[in-house]
């Protein structure tokens, strides 16, 4: 078992696909006459899913009645411009080595990106792990090494454990610019938006590996929508769609776990403990496109304040509006498709991004651009009844 190729076998998809077609018809059949033309809207919350869906061409083989709505699960995309400006301000400090994942390098701030700041002389280094940032701190005690901590609950344990390691070793020149965000409050914000009519969710598999499957229960109980925690290989995604349809076809509303080889109901206790030890939940945090969301971000606890870059540097801390043309916000909410943005593929391309959704490896605009979905051609869902 290699845990990859086995889940990419196109032969194995055949049975699944046939049943998906049958079930989607069954779901439509259950609906009131006036609703039959509506597509079955499933939101894949995570940008990793969005990319896998396009990479393996899954949209093309699914029934037309199913519409996949791309959710806000892209940490780089949801970071507001003001926070990026703050990151650049820290990075431009002469005594600082600023470390970041590659994903954040090209995201446009209000004046420039980290990449441009580096070209202008700031010491900005791409790292693969927060542990690499800690290693740079050990090796360069004369500099202040700041790690740009971004990501959902998947990444937060790694950052927390790195801070604990730094504390244990008394590495004094290491700090975090903490921008971790939480999935559940964002889903709650989406569910409270009456404009967004969704039939169900594919929940992010790797976030769930950390938080478990229990925190989604309110979606089934209070919002009466199926939730399927999903892996990232093409067969995982197809199976998750199949599981969500089975619920819809029989009127069940549950949290199911397709990714049982990795995610457990209670999550990862060590990871959760590290997060809780090092971080506390901010009263609110601004998300690009979604606005202020209560209890949706993490900051360092007072006990670890000496590792908090936010307290060590004076930051511009401004709210900067997004570019007027950019529809990232609507795209992150699943209200618009990337090709509906006027500058998509013209003024806004990966080389000249206007919004973060075009730069991040998980952004929906980047996925549509990369896999050639430049128009509505294959996008408009047609209910089976109309064919």
């Amino acid at each position: 078992m290699k845990y990859v190729d086995e889940f990419r076998d196109p032969q194995k998809a055949q049975g699944l696909l046939k049943d998906i077609h049958r079930l989607s018809q069954a779901v439509i059949d259950r609906r009131a006459a006036s609703q039959k033309e509506q597509p079955i809207k499933l939101m894949e919350v995570c940008g990793g899913h969005t990319h896998a869906i396009f990479k393996y061409g899954l949209e093309a083989i699914l029934p037309d009645a199913i519409e996949l709505i791309h959710g806000p699960g892209c940490p780089v995309c949801v970071m507001p411009k003001g926070r990026l400006d703050d990151a650049i301000a820290i990075a431009e400090h002469p005594d600082v080595i600023f470390t970041t994942f590659g994903d954040a390098m090209r995201v446009p701030g209000s004046q420039k990106s980290l990449l441009q700041a580096r070209a202008e002389g700031a010491d900005i280094r791409m790292v693969y792990s927060p542990l690499d940032a800690l290693q740079i701190a050990r090796e360069t005690p004369e500099k202040s090494v700041v790690f740009f901590a971004i990501g959902f609950e998947t990444t937060a344990p790694s950052t927390a454990l790195t801070v604990l390691q730094a504390a244990a070793e008394r590495v004094e020149n290491f700090s975090l610019f903490a921008n971790h965000v939480l999935v559940i409050p964002a889903l709650l914000a989406l569910l409270q938006n009456p404009d967004l009519q969704l039939d169900g969710f594919l929940a992010p598999g790797h976030v769930s590996t950390v938080i478990g499957t229990v925190p989604y229960q309110f979606i089934a109980d209070q919002y009466h929508k199926p939730v399927v925690v999903s892996g990232f290989e093409p067969l995982d995604i197809l199976q998750s769609i199949w599981m969500a349809l089975r619920q819809l076809a029989t009127g069940r509303r549950q949290v199911e776990n397709q990714y049982s080889r990795l995610a457990q109901p209670a999550g990862n206790p060590v990871g959760l403990k590290a997060i809780n030890q090092v971080f506390e939940v901010r009263p609110e945090f601004a998300w690009r496109g979604l606005g202020m969301i209560p209890q949706s971000g993490l900051k360092l606890r007072a006990d670890y304040a000496r590792f908090d870059a936010e307290l060590q540097f004076s930051l511009p801390n401004l709210t900067v509006p997004d570019h007027r043309a950019c529809q990232c916000g609507e795209i992150l909410k699943g209200a618009l498709k990337p090709w509906q943005c006027k500058v998509f593929g013209t003024a806004c391309r990966p080389e000249t991004p206007i919004g973060a959704c075009m730069v991040s490896s998980e952004g929906a605009c980047a996925a549509y651009y990369r896999y050639g979905r430049h128009s509505a051609a294959t996008q408009v869902p047609v209910a089976p009844g109309r064919q």
Partner: protein, 83 residues
């Protein structure tokens, strides 16, 4: 950002810092295994385990039985179609 890759633990290099070498499609990388170590699984017992690696950390152990169950379901559905 949330991407992870499966790999197999081949060696424990530092029990205090909980570091191991994980082989990910033929490439060996240092990985922190704090999240998968507990009383039932001391570091030494982790050699040979398959884990999901994310930003230099093993996020969790992969469960072969569960993976087999998932794969078996695909076969079942395919067989159902043929009948």
């Amino acid at each position: 950002m949330c991407l992870g890759v499966p790999g197999q633990i081949v060696e424990i290099t530092d029990t205090t810092r909980q570091l191991a070498i994980v082989e990910i499609s033929g490439v060996r990388r240092p990985v922190n295994i704090a999240c998968i170590v507990d009383e039932d699984h001391p570091p030494e017992a982790c050699v040979g385990d398959w884990v999901l690696v994310h930003v230099g950390f093993a996020l969790n152990r992969l469960d072969e039985q569960e993976a087999q169950k998932t794969l078996a379901l695909f076969d079942q559905l395919a067989a159902y179609e043929i009948r």
